[in-house]
Amino acid sequence: MQRRGIMTDGVIAGAGKAAPAIRLSGLIKRKPRRRVAVVGAGLSLFMRRALDTGKELSYYAAAQAMETAGIRRRDIEGVIMATAPDAFDGVHMKGDWLLDGAGGVRRPYMRAYVGGGSGVFSIISGWTLVASGLFDLVLVVGEEKMSTCQPHPQGAFITIFDHTIERPLGPNLLWIFALEQNRYMSTYGLRNEDIALVSVKNKRNALDHPAAQVAKELTVKDVLASEVVAWPVHRLMVSPVSDGAAALVLASEDVAKRLTDKPVWVQGVGWALDTSYWGNRDLAYPRYVEQAARMAYEMAGVTEPRKQIHLAEPYDPFAYKELHHLEGLQLADKGKAPEDLAQGRFDRTGPLPVCPSGGLMGVGNPIAAAGVMKLCELFWQLRGEAGARQVPGNPERGVAQAWGDLMQVGTVAVLGTR
């Protein structure tokens, strides 16, 4: 069938490995005129169980981001708060409840919420506030405290399934990941060993992250020796339950240049959602991530992502998702990301470092905060300040991506030094 519009436009030209060019799709009408920069970043520790409340965690991250940007709360004109399901905290409208910790009192304040995609959606939301010309300084905070939800925060996810035709079957959240991973593996003839390597790489990278919760030196054998929770998913291929927060300060061009010599520009943003009839989708390929990426690349002037993007922080709540998302981001051929990974292409010192932070598999997965943590990592990497985690070669452009809801959200941000 031939349809006009975003679903079929913009086919990737050139299937070869050497940086295929992208035919742009006209997803955006025009490039935004006002530039937006990241000028500060902050984190709390990521933990299995924090004594600290969600407000306290948010405060730690927000205060650190403002401190590094050299500003105070009174300078902040608007606040974006990203936090995922209310059911984790047992507090309805928790976005408003967390307001105090996010520095949002008596400010224009908004909650950014697309499930697991919220972290990167938060910078997109903050970007719109600054790019529109409404504000010059905006604080973006991501927070999650999953440990509150007992006996297991998975309970909060049971209600994402359709009440009439899915919930009577007794689903849990692991099912959809396991189903997607099996479809991905079956479509391209991949082995579980190929997938497990993501856990090994990211948990090792996280050894250099001071906030990390589950950093560890492991082998593929260790990962596959951990128990099967929902075949093909083993326990060590799942990110942990986490508490934590992360924050960014966004500024307009003039203000950014006054605050820092090294602003990191938000060059492009994109997001897209696919149908909630998830059984009707191609589970082997995240087309909505491709759409989101193409929109962000077009805005950023990226025509050859494999050449022009120097590091990536794709969303990795499950090991296979990193690979799945790299393909959606056009940074690997369909079904070939595992091969690239095995060859070391995605190592921190490889040609395209992927999750040099340690990602969700290593640093932890406080849902909305995890996406913001990825953006913090791009900020430090692109400024050349990442220390023990610094990727070589003075990277000039990076991409962060998050994913969520009923496996249907792609949120993408391209950050760069120019």
Binding site: F157, P168, W231
Partner: protein, 193 residues
């Protein structure tokens, strides 16, 4: 308030180059110091089926699986819906589908939602019902296998295995997705690949 020891700070030359804040609790500390409140909200939801799913469920009660067709995009989809979400117009016709299909993907799940082990695994699957457009499926369960281990189950089913619905008896059916107990491999045609 109890004062558990903070996690010993890790000295790493990497950002954020500021002291990391947050006090991690061990499992033991959490259970000793954090009071939990079990709260069962007294909520009841009257979920309407809507027009399309209502007719689908009526079909299940009668032992039939229905889909719908959109003549603009040409898709035949199930579960049925009142309108085509791509062409944004009403669906054009109802289609009676066979109760056979293929396994698009499956998992073998050994834990409950609260991570308690399951001795007999659940086998959720996306089933592509015959007669629908490619890669159109819905969530259901695979059953009827006499096997419990990953290897034994994978010896009997795989992606592409043809399956048939195993129904409750007509008397037991109530117009619910569970009127189909599960899908079972069609005998003699076990594993496609």
């Amino acid at each position: 308030m109890a004062k558990p020891a903070a996690r010993p700070p890790r000295v790493i030359d990497a950002p954020p180059h500021l002291p990391m804040r947050g006090r991690a609790l061990s499992d033991d500390e959490f259970h000793r110091t954090t009071p939990t409140v079990a709260w069962t909200p007294r909520l009841e939801y009257g979920w309407d089926t809507g027009a399309a799913i209502g007719r689908f469920l009526d079909g299940l009660r009668g032992g039939k699986i229905y889909g719908v067709r959109c003549r603009v995009c040409g898709r035949v989809v199930t579960p049925p819906r009142a309108f085509c979400e791509l062409d944004f117009k009403p669906m054009d016709e109802w289609v009676e589908l066979p109760d056979t299909g293929t396994i698009n993907t499956f998992s073998i799940c050994y834990v409950t939602w609260d991570m308690k082990p399951l001795r007999t695994p659940q086998i959720p699957a996306v089933i592509e019902i015959d007669g629908t457009s490619p890669r159109v499926g819905f969530l259901h369960l695979v059953g009827g296998l006499r096997a419990g281990s990953v290897d034994a189950i994978r010896a009997q089913i795989g992606v592409g295995t043809p399956v048939r619905a195993v129904w409750k008896t007509p008397k037991e059916r109530e117009g619910a997705i569970t009127d189909v107990l599960h899908f079972a491999p069609i005998d003699g045609r076990r594993k496609a690949r």
